[in-house]
């Protein structure tokens, strides 16, 4: 009765929820001379474990989302001088409008990131975007076109009440 379907690069299996993830990209934002992360942005849900028990009642049994992507930089990695260079990535939860991680966390050599939402992964759809960050020749910040991925955790079944008893009065 309990089952799971997970569509995309990686697989998660869990009872109670229906899970799906998909990628979509090509927003209109452009940034000259800063290539975008490849559209193969993936997201994997990680199940709650005994060691990581329930945090809130409104979250699913997933505690973590593992992102991964491919990227070919068209500028050197930034050093001490922040000009004409690539500094890393910014991951944003576009559903909540919150930045999850910046180049200080996701550096230029990173191709994955493990996100642990506070309180767990919520039920419903959570959308994320990833952009590459860098600096132009004048030292002004640049960002690439974003790539996006969504994670969906749906309730598909409900359990009956537990420890049900009837006491004659």
């Amino acid at each position: 009765m309990k089952r799971v379907l997970f569509l995309l690069p990686l697989i998660a299996i869990a009872p109670l929820v229906h899970v799906a993830a998909q990628t979509a990209s090509k927003p209109t934002q452009t940034a000259p001379s800063q290539t975008e992360p490849k559209t193969r942005l993936g997201a994997t849900l990680v199940r709650r474990t005994v060691a990581a028990p329930l945090v809130t009642a409104n979250a699913s049994q997933y505690t973590q989302i593992d992102f991964n992507w491919a990227y070919t930089a068209n500028a050197p990695t930034c050093g001490t001088s922040l000009t004409n260079c690539f500094s890393g990535f910014t991951l944003t939860d576009t559903t909540l409008g919150a930045v999850i991680a910046t180049p200080s966390t996701i550096g230029p050599t990173s191709l994955s990131y493990a996100y642990i939402p506070s309180g767990g992964v919520p039920f419903g759809t959570s959308a994320f975007s990833l952009v590459a960050n860098g600096y132009n020749g004048s030292g002004n910040p640049m960002t690439s076109t974003p790539v996006a991925v969504s994670v969906v955790v749906n309730v598909t079944t409900l359990n009956a009440p537990t420890n049900l008893t009837g006491a004659p009065q």
């Binding site: 009642a57 039920f123 419903g124 969906v152 309730v155 409900l158 359990n159 009440p161 537990t162 006491a167």
Partner: protein, 115 residues
């Protein structure tokens, strides 16, 4: 005097009371079952949020079914007990809610085991 002694014995007082007679008296005047207290410790879905007006990915309410008559009672999802007035009937309880598409879903009916 003889009447007083007889009265004391008939009332079960004193060392000479008849156990058999006392037991018979309790059976006849014992309390009658008038209701059934149905209770549960959890709705069984601690990770699923309460709907509170929403219609997706949530638990909404609890149904108590009198399987004998077919009558249903709907309780708030926060309820943890229900007193049924027909104690000899068979009851079952389920949880209702909505899936990710907004479809109504429900648990299986769990038959109430009577203690």
């Amino acid at each position: 005097m003889a009447a007083l002694v007889f009265a004391a014995l008939a009332g079960g007082a004193g060392c000479g009371s008849n156990p058999a007679a006392k037991s018979s008296s309790l059976t006849e005047s014992g309390p009658k079952t008038t209701s059934l207290l149905i209770s549960w410790s959890s709705d069984g879905n601690p990770l699923v949020p309460v709907c509170n007006g929403a219609t997706q990915n949530c638990k909404n309410d609890i149904t108590v079914l009198d399987k004998t008559t077919g009558a249903e009672v709907t309780l708030p999802i926060t309820a943890s007990s229900y007193t049924a007035t027909a104690p000899n009937d068979t009851y079952a309880v389920r949880v209702n809610g909505f899936d990710g598409l907004g479809n109504s879903i429900a648990s299986e009916y769990e038959v109430v085991p009577v203690q």
